[in-house]
Symmetry: D3
Subunit: 69 residues, 6 copies
């Protein structure tokens, strides 16, 4: 499936922390940057995510805030 989402980055799962309803998945992007995703436990199970799994990291452009120091 191709998506309207502008940001679709390649990454690898480096850790999964399961809570009661939600899970926190840590992903290393191809370039080395790391990103954290909070998704439902159901989604982790449905996608059969495990450490080392190759994933797409999807973020809508309207959800990306910029800061300047």
């Amino acid at each position: 499936m191709r998506l309207s989402t502008r940001n679709q980055l390649d990454g690898t799962v480096i850790s999964i922390t399961r809570g009661e309803a939600m899970a926190v998945v840590r992903v290393r992007l191809a370039g080395g940057d790391e990103i954290t995703s909070s998704i439902t436990r159901d989604a982790v199970d449905d996608l059969a995510l495990t450490d080392g799994a190759r994933v797409k990291v999807l973020v809508k452009s309207t959800e990306v805030t910029l800061g300047v120091e």
Copy 2:
């Protein structure tokens, strides 16, 4: 200012496209991955963003969707 946002990545602005009310800012992350941000034109002006500017890219973990092929 320190923020509750989980994802705070270093990047460099590589292009800015100004629309009437909104602007699209393209950023290269430290590791080389590229990400697109849609923010208001006012924000681009307030932050004085230009090509080559160093920025923080902020994304809430609940806004990060994962996909598996």
Copy 3:
């Protein structure tokens, strides 16, 4: 691609209104309900959306508000 998004509904595009940077796409769901999506013009072009196109409508469960009258 399989996604962590909980809501993935089948629909058909019934109209596309192009703005300068954004587009408004109207979709009829399989059951007949209609839903409006605001995405970038770039996304409309990349997906080659036209009236009558079959699409998946994706909405995160945390973005669904409920009201009672």
Copy 4:
């Protein structure tokens, strides 16, 4: 109250799963499509939601992603 939200669909609650802080509410739209909403337990109590309750399902158009297979 009338709202700026573009998508306001009629539905009926078909299940409520209560977690510690959050609840997952499953709703059948008028046309038969089903949609999942994650809201706070407080909200479920405030709205006195029960199976069979008539609800409005509200989704901002900027939160609707489209996909094409």
Copy 5:
């Protein structure tokens, strides 16, 4: 209509800037703080918003980020 949204504040419209597809509405809260809302032009028309109009300002609690200096 009663809503699952946690934050529902009273305010008064102090300015409306219309773009092609989107509009920016500036609102003064009861206590004097000011807040900016970006909604569709269609929504501004449907709600017949004008300067001085009394409105409810609705924000989901998951969309409120906190910062410390």
Copy 6:
């Protein structure tokens, strides 16, 4: 750090409720209005939030819905 976020209001923490993974932080704005934020417990700890702490309340303008009664 200066941010692209349009809404940056001054407030004071008046209560913190810690859940397993998430926390609910109640903040009084300078003008007296109160607002609720749901952030991760990790963020509460990282920012060392306590009752009485001075905070910035950040909300993107696209996340502010308006209603009229």
